[in-house]
């Protein structure tokens, strides 16, 4: 499938000499939700800003739906919407005038019914004549989303869309993002809430110190790098792990009451059954057991720490 965003060998060095991006290559598939993760200052916002035309690249090429963002900037930018990280909005304007402005700025003819529906979907319709300064932080964030959607983009960049937003509104936004994807909009989001990426993203990219260190399907990533764990609560404490169980990757808690077995998707599927039989053979009884698996956040942290 032809990617909707193609980033080739993209680099950015600011005048201060700081190299924010180093030879980044990235393809975004049409209709997917792509989560770009990375610690502060990793280069996420620089990458987005270059694709959107806000920052000049030092080297490399970017295409949006086949259009070069420099040579064919008009066609490329008409496709792209951006919800910035900062609450950058003219507070003296009304909600209606600011979304009308955004639609016109991106070359779209006025369309009142569309904008009316958009504001209703974002629960902003009753505030359409309010000045933005009178709105809460969460509402201002929604105004920014309304501005980006006012010109019906095919690609939407969301730079920390739920930063500073309460839990309920965050869930609403996730739902809205899914609806946009269902309507054919390609979504690229950066977030600090790994839970957000885990919940929504189809694919995940991890950027660190200006380098894209990983791009992977979310489920594949969690399978490949995710660890699983089986914990067994023993009936009686033991002092050490019996030698008959040394073939298993086991650890014993300090109080001798819990055995922990770590495995991953590549481990022998029958290993757990064998382990439980071996425990029985050794006369070790357990009163409870449970399994857990690492979250995307655990994987992200281990990836970043590994690189450091």
């Amino acid at each position: 499938m032809q990617p909707i965003i193609e980033v080739q060998n993209l680099s950015k060095t600011y005048q201060s000499g700081f190299q924010a991006l180093k030879n980044v290559d990235l393809s975004i598939r049409k209709g997917e939700i792509f989560a770009l993760l990375g610690p502060n200052g990793a280069g996420k916002t620089t990458l987005i800003s270059i694709i959107c035309g806000i920052v000049n690249p030092s080297a490399g090429k970017v295409r949006a739906d086949g259009y070069d963002i420099v040579k064919d900037y008009r066609r490329a930018r008409q496709l792209i919407g951006l919800v910035p990280q900062e609450l950058a909005v003219n507070i003296f304007e009304t909600v209606w005038s600011t979304v009308t402005f955004s639609r016109g700025l991106f070359g779209k003819a006025p369309n009142r019914p569309y904008l009316e529906q958009l504001l209703k979907d974002l629960s902003l319709w009753d505030k359409k004549d309010s000045k933005i300064m009178a709105l809460s932080g969460g509402m201002k964030r929604r105004v920014l989303i309304a501005k980006a959607l006012a010109y019906e983009p095919k690609i939407l960049f969301l730079d920390e869309p739920t930063a500073g937003v309460d839990v309920e509104l965050r869930r609403d936004m996730w739902e809205m993002i899914r609806q946009l994807r269902d309507n054919g909009v390609t979504i690229i989001l950066t977030t600090h809430y790994i839970e957000e990426a885990e919940d929504m993203a189809d694919r995940v990219g991890v950027i660190q110190r200006g380098e894209l260190i990983l791009v992977e399907d979310k489920h594949d990533l969690m399978e490949k790098l995710g660890k699983k764990q089986l914990s067994l609560q023993l009936v009686e404490p033991i002092e050490q792990i019996p030698s008959a169980l040394s073939a298993y990757s086991l650890s014993l808690s300090e109080d001798g009451m819990q055995l922990t077995y770590q495995y991953d998707h590549q481990s022998d599927q029958a290993a757990i059954a064998r382990l439980l039989r071996s425990l029985s053979d050794e006369g070790l009884d357990y009163r409870d057991l449970h399994t857990s698996q690492s979250s995307l956040e655990d994987i992200f942290v281990s990836l970043v720490e590994e690189k450091v």
Partner: protein, 253 residues
């Protein structure tokens, strides 16, 4: 050409003037009217006519120029500085608009406001002094050219400014003194020869002189020279704006 974008920027900027009507229109009209009252109606009656024109009428073109130069510069500078200050510049930079379209939107709106302001002051002056307009077409032409040129100049200041103070410095510290010393209140021929020569280096002299010619048919310098100077100034400003957008200086990191 992205006509919708030009329209959006233009209307947005005009709406800002409407929101700040007292500051944008009422305040400059009132302060200029005070000049007409003091120098036109009160002191003007005691002054001798210049080039056959009563003093009160003589200063009308100069005072309109004084106001529109300041307002054109301030309006355009503030218009482009505000998105930089509030961070909303991201939207303009990420939009499918060319630098020319951005300039047309911002400068067009600033110039429109100044032309309207100039015409309001012209009408207001009629209350206090009696004047005539010998070449109305040229009067409008000089007014529009001047407003566009100085709006371009203001746009450059707005792009380069890094604080609100810097926005105010050029109008207050440069344009106002140049306008006062550029023959707004007198004919430069009333000055000693050395000062006449020095004054010719003041670009505002050519604007005021040409504008006054359109009213009364009298001027300190030739009309052709005045027009040439305005066009040269406009081209220099356009050149600087083009360079700013091409290099991204103070616009794009």
């Amino acid at each position: 050409m992205n006509g919708h974008a030009i329209r959006a920027i233009y209307l947005f900027e005009l709406a800002r003037a409407w929101r700040t009507l007292m500051q944008s229109i009422a305040s400059p009209v009132l302060s200029t009217s005070l000049y007409f009252v003091v120098f036109g109606a009160a002191i003007g009656s005691r002054m001798v006519a210049i080039d056959g024109v009563s003093y009160g009428a003589y200063i009308v073109p100069g005072l309109i120029m004084l106001t529109v130069l300041n307002e054109s510069t301030s309006n355009a500078a503030f218009g482009i500085y505000m998105p930089k200050f509030t961070g909303t510049m991201y939207e303009i930079l990420s939009a499918p608009v060319s630098s020319l379209e951005i300039v047309i939107g911002f400068v067009g709106a600033a110039a429109t406001k100044s032309v309207i302001l100039g015409l309001i002051i012209l009408l207001t002056a009629r209350i206090f002094v009696d004047y005539s307009i010998e070449h109305p077409f040229w009067m409008l032409g000089f007014l529009v050219f001047t407003c566009v040129s100085f709006s371009l100049f203001g746009f450059i200041i707005g792009v380069m400014a890094e604080s609100f103070e810097q926005l105010q410095v050029v109008p207050m510290m440069i344009i106002t003194p140049l306008a006062f010393l550029g023959g707004s209140f007198y004919s430069i021929q009333m000055l000693p020869p050395l000062w006449q020569t020095i004054t010719l280096f003041n670009p505002v002299v050519y604007l005021v002189s040409g504008f006054r010619w359109s009213f009364y048919g009298v001027s300190d310098v030739g009309v052709g020279i005045s027009l040439t100077m305005i066009v040269v100034f406009m081209l220099v400003c356009l050149g600087i704006v083009t360079w700013l957008f091409k290099t991204g200086y103070k616009i794009k990191p």
